[in-house]
């Protein structure tokens, strides 16, 4: 077996955002405008605020979309804010988001960028 070199990214964080079904596209767009590279969306069901809203709970979907976005630690605040505003998370029932520190991540990194960063360091 040939030896392969793995480039590992450090200083990464995960932003997870849970919003109502159908809202993911706007949020992913906002996050990408803010510099996020990509996003993973999956479907789920959730409850909480919806039950406490009474009649208004009808306006809140039970089905949710969960967006996972991996960002650089320097980007956290900017993208966090972008998502908060795009998702109108200051409205009850709209959703929830949190940031998790990640130890390391790996993915495809263009060779020339990896080389450049390696020589700088």
């Amino acid at each position: 077996m040939s030896k392969r070199n793995i480039v590992v990214l450090t200083d990464v964080a995960l932003i997870t955002c849970i919003i109502q079904k159908g809202c993911a596209d706007t949020i992913v767009k906002a996050a990408q405008d803010g510099g996020a590279q990509g996003a993973t969306v999956f479907y789920a069901r959730g409850s909480g605020v919806r039950e406490r809203l009474g009649v208004l709970g009808i306006a809140v979907e039970v089905e949710k979309e969960i967006i996972n976005i991996v960002v650089a630690t320097d980007q956290i605040d900017r993208i966090f804010e972008k998502i908060y505003l795009a998702g109108n998370l200051d409205t009850p029932g709209m959703g929830f988001m949190y940031v998790t520190p990640l130890e390391k991540a790996a993915t495809y990194i263009p060779a020339e960028i990896a080389d450049k960063l390696a020589t700088e360091a």
Partner: protein, 592 residues
């Protein structure tokens, strides 16, 4: 002497970006108290206090998304019809304010109705579908499915369009058609419902036993076409054929398809079968074929019970009597009553099954009540809009389009163009209307997605959508053509279905399922009334006896176009595979 002030860069950045105030979640989390025995007192969160701005921000997107869905279905069609009338026919839209108000109420009515259906009725369907098979014997289950098929037909919004159409039919020239749509109209809907019920039963059995759809199609087409040929033999009776074939298209709308499907899939899953990639298909096909048989049988029955003379004299005496309409026949009340009559029996039936047969409690009664009232209100508003918006607009443009090629009373300078050009314009109008209306149908988008997944991307979503819309467009154009030259519908329908049978024989099971279902999917609650009214108006203007039959053309069109496209794709895939095989062989030859 300038004063230099020093600011920390970090503070500056914090100032220009947003403030993030930090609160400890520990301060917010509720404290769990204990009672005297040391047990935890279960935490029950109280109601949230919501400010007015929160209510607005919650309700506004909820409302907007649903409104835009309906606007997308109605507006392009209405704009197309109005522009065509203004620019090509150079006629003003009469009663434009009434029509605008009518269209608005169609949009709002559909919005409320669909949302109410989702919140109020669908949970019933899902619960019953999941629980029923485990608590009742198969015979009972099938009987309930049958009754449900009848119930959903009454609740289908497009059914109202048939009754509206009945008022326009001239009793002298087509007595049986008049009789079916007026004095027998309730029985007509019941027969259609029984057709749908039977289709639901057969479709469910198909789920359970995994039958192929092909023999089912052949077997249901034999009586359908046989009866058509029998009815053709009677010159009076043959005028109902258009209506009978159109009924198939009317039934498969936004109530029937999801409710019957959720029940059928639930039963199939409980029986241990189903959830195969094709299990949602087939019911729609059968539900658009069986009502045709049912209506034809009813027509034959009526022809034995009444003679044309009896109907004409009866109609004359009724029209003498009905100069003063009683209160429940005037505008807001008749729509109100029909709205309640459409939804309430279905709801009572579903509740009865849930409570007395399944012995289940109704979950979230408040939400369910909200959903049901919303769907009743939506149905009422939609009915009003149906008579004053869609039917009126459709009838008006249908009545004016013939002015392009022939002399009609409404347009003094008609014919506007010479015969060949005018005819081309009229047919192009019909084709574009069918193509556009179908492409805008949200159900088609969903079908396209399913098909793309099912065929592993061989049948692209866009290709399917275009194939279906192309079929519908051609169907509607042929339908108009049929009315202009008063070609008996059987001359077009029978060869059409024969072609479909041949294509079915050669196609694979997947494509047969997709193609036959695509016909039912395309005829939604906006297209059906519009096309029906247009056909009737058109028929009246060119002096045809009846204007039915366009919808049935719009059903057979996509069946043929989709299956043909499917065969073409198959041929292409096979050819590519052959080429690859050859390539591999030749490479192997080099190797050795």
């Amino acid at each position: 002497m300038p004063i230099i002030k020093h600011i920390r860069f970090g503070a500056f950045v914090r100032e220009i970006t947003m403030h993030q105030e930090e609160i400890s979640y520990n301060d917010l989390a509720p404290e769990i108290k204990q009672d005297q025995d040391g047990n935890d007192i279960l935490y029950r969160p109280g109601k949230l206090k919501v400010r007015a701005i929160d209510v607005y921000r919650l309700v506004q997107p909820y409302f907007k998304v649903r409104l835009i869905d309906q606007l997308k279905a109605v507006l392009p069609l209405a704009i197309y019809l109005i522009l065509f009338q203004l620019l090509i026919l150079r006629q003003n839209v009469t009663d434009s304010w009434v029509i605008t108000a009518g269209l608005m109420s169609v949009i709002f009515g559909l919005m409320f109705f669909i949302e109410g259906l989702k919140v109020g009725l669908m949970p019933f369907g899902e619960t019953i579908g999941n629980i029923l098979p485990s608590k009742a014997r198969l015979a009972t289950v099938l009987f309930i499915v049958f009754l449900l098929g009848i119930g959903v037909t009454f609740a289908e919004p497009a059914i109202g369009a048939l009754k509206t159409a009945g008022a326009i039919v001239d009793v002298e020239s087509a007595p049986y058609l008049y009789s079916l749509l007026n004095s027998w109209s309730e029985v007509l809907v019941l027969m259609v419902g029984m057709g749908v019920g039977l289709a639901a039963v057969l479709g469910t059995l198909r789920f359970i036993y995994g039958w192929s759809l092909k023999p089912l199609i052949y077997m249901s087409l034999i009586p359908t076409i046989g009866l058509t040929i029998y009815i053709m033999g009677d010159s009076e009776l043959s005028k109902i054929l258009g209506l009978a074939w159109d009924c198939g298209a009317v039934t498969t709308g936004p109530v029937t398809v999801p409710l019957v499907l959720s029940l059928g899939i639930g039963i199939a899953t409980a029986a241990g079968k189903g959830r195969s990639s094709l299990s949602g298909f087939g019911i729609v096909t059968l539900a658009s074929l069986f009502p045709i048989i049912a209506v034809q049988i009813l027509a034959i029955f009526v022809s034995f019970a009444e003679t044309p003379e009896m109907i004409i004299s009866e109609a004359a005496s009724i029209s003498n009597l009905s100069s003063t309409l009683s209160w429940h026949e005037t505008t807001p009340y008749v729509e109100l009553l029909s709205g309640i009559r459409a939804i309430v029996p279905l709801v009572l039936f579903l509740m009865f099954i849930l409570i007395y047969i399944l012995k289940e409690k109704i979950k979230h009664p408040g939400t369910i009540a909200y959903g049901i009232s919303l769907s009743v209100i939506g149905m009422i508003i939609f009915n009003v809009g149906l008579s004053y918006g869609l039917s009126k607009l459709g009838g008006q443009s249908g009545g004016l389009v013939p002015g392009a090629f022939t002399k009609i009373e409404l347009i003094s300078e008609s014919p506007l163009y010479n015969f060949a050009l005018g005819m081309t314009i009229a047919l192009a109008f019909a084709w574009i209307l069918g193509f556009g209306a179908t492409l805008a149908e949200p159900a088609l988008n969903a079908l396209g997605m399913t098909v793309e997944n099912l065929t592993n991307g061989a049948f692209r979503k866009k290709l399917l959508m275009h194939a279906v819309s192309f079929g519908v467009g051609c169907g509607i154009a042929i339908g108009i053509f049929k009315i202009i030259f008063s070609i008996p519908i059987a001359y077009i329908i029978i060869p059409g279905y024969l072609v479909a049978i041949v294509l079915t024989y050669f196609s694979t099971e997947e494509f047969v399922n997709i193609a036959w279902d695509s016909a039912g999917v395309t005829t939604g609650p906006v297209t059906v009334p519009l096309v029906l009214a247009m056909g009737l108006g058109f028929g009246e203007a060119v002096g045809a006896i009846e204007g039915f039959g366009i919808l049935s053309m719009a059903s057979i069109g996509p069946i043929i176009s989709v299956m043909a496209t499917g065969l073409w794709i198959q041929w292409k895939v096979n050819k590519r595979r052959e080429r690859e095989d050859e390539l591999v062989e030749s490479l192997e030859g080099v190797d050795s």
